[in-house]
């Protein structure tokens, strides 16, 4: 308003008229211990819209006959307030019916980070207009998903959890110092000493430490069966990588104005704490925000 460079932009609040459903999944003991979540899939059955109802709504063009379905993870904080995180969103057509699939892996990753005892997994599904505004179609009012208690359990919401047993597909901790590393060695953390006193550039510059155990990840990881690779083509091969690292503090000498003084620095990710088998392209779990 007060700048010549910008024109004032007025905003309007457009009610979305969303219909919202809360899905509650009891998750305790659903995920096997020592397993890795590969993917969590929410399956919702979209019920067909009766022809008479479609007729009452007039002719809907293919573009205007869509609604946006959004899945959010709902977390009830300790103080009783709610927080939602967007998980997946897609457009559905009112002319279609059948199972609609949403990737809710991130929601289950978030849920796993909750402190115990953990609340159930709460997924909030909302159906909104594709575009807000007075001229937008009312297609979203026609989208219905089967709920729990559907006749004979048909079309009830489902949560599919796909996991890999880390006993077979994970790393094995620290390597056996007695056994040489071969092609068949299972992914493990191997000691590797970095000798700073033996490095010419560190002479008279690095005061502490004289050297340190950096460790490295060596060995190979068992690959999932081909059927799984076909199911999730976005996942690359499982590789032995450093999954947890620690920083390395150092004391170095700094020359300033003809004087030399010691200074402490901390170099991130210098020491391997844990090696894991991970698929390239797999979702990197986001940390849970307060």
């Amino acid at each position: 308003r007060f700048s010549q460079s910008f024109r004032e932009v007025a905003g309007r609040f457009l009610a979305s008229e969303a219909s919202t459903h809360l899905l509650v999944f009891g998750m305790e003991q659903r995920l096997p211990p020592n397993s890795e979540l590969v993917q969590a899939v929410l399956r919702l059955f979209q019920e067909p819209v009766p022809k008479a109802t479609l007729h009452r709504h007039g002719r809907l063009s293919p573009r205007s006959a869509r609604a946006r379905v959004t899945v959010e993870w709902l977390r009830v904080r300790d103080d009783g307030s709610n927080r939602t995180s967007l998980i997946d969103s897609r457009l559905v057509s009112v002319h279609e019916s059948g199972w609609k699939v949403f990737d809710v892996t991130e929601a289950v990753n978030f849920w796993q980070q909750l402190s115990r005892p953990r609340q159930p997994l709460l997924l909030q599904v909302s159906v909104q207009r594709e575009h807000p505004g007075p001229l937008a179609s009312g297609a979203h009012k026609l989208v219905r998903f089967a709920s729990q208690g559907a006749p004979a359990g048909l079309g009830e919401p489902q949560l599919e959890l796909h996991t890999l047993d880390l006993g077979d597909y994970g790393a094995q901790g620290d390597c056996d110092p007695e056994a040489p590393v071969t092609e068949g060695t299972r992914c493990c953390r191997q000691e590797m000493y970095i000798d700073l006193q033996g490095m010419k550039w560190a002479d008279n510059w690095v005061l502490e430490p004289p050297g340190f155990l950096a460790y490295e990840c060596v060995g190979t990881c068992q690959q999932p069966p081909e059927a799984l690779a076909f199911k999730w083509p976005f996942l690359g091969p499982r590789q032995c990588i450093a999954s947890e690292t620690a920083s390395l503090p150092m004391i170095v000498s700094i020359k300033e104005g003809g004087r030399t003084r010691p200074q402490v620095v901390s170099l991130p990710n210098m020491r391997v704490q844990k090696c894991s088998c991970a698929s390239d392209g797999a979702l990197v779990p986001r940390g849970l925000q307060p």
Binding site: M192, I194, L196, M199, W201, A202, N204, W205, V206, L207, E208, A214, E216, I241, A242, S243, E244, T245, A246, S247, L248, P249, M250, I251, V252, S253, I254, K255, T260, R261, P262, Q263, V264, V265, S266, L267, P268, N269, M270, R271, Q273, K274, A278, A282, V284, G287
Partner: protein, 55 residues
């Protein structure tokens, strides 16, 4: 982890383009003050406790 990677990280942290060449004579007179050593030990203990989580 190689020596070159370590050097690169150190240069980046100190915002230097190359490793400084320091005289041995300067170093012989250099004493690490107690507060600098204490800061180093604190960071060392913390780095053993905290883990940064990668992929």
């Amino acid at each position: 982890l190689t020596g070159e990677q370590l050097l690169g990280s150190l240069l980046q942290q100190l915002q230097l383009s190359e490793a400084p060449v320091l005289d041995r004579a300067d170093m012989e007179e250099l004493v690490i003050p107690a507060h600098v050593r204490a800061q180093y030990v604190t960071l060392l203990q913390r780095s053993h406790g905290d883990r940064s989580r990668g992929k």
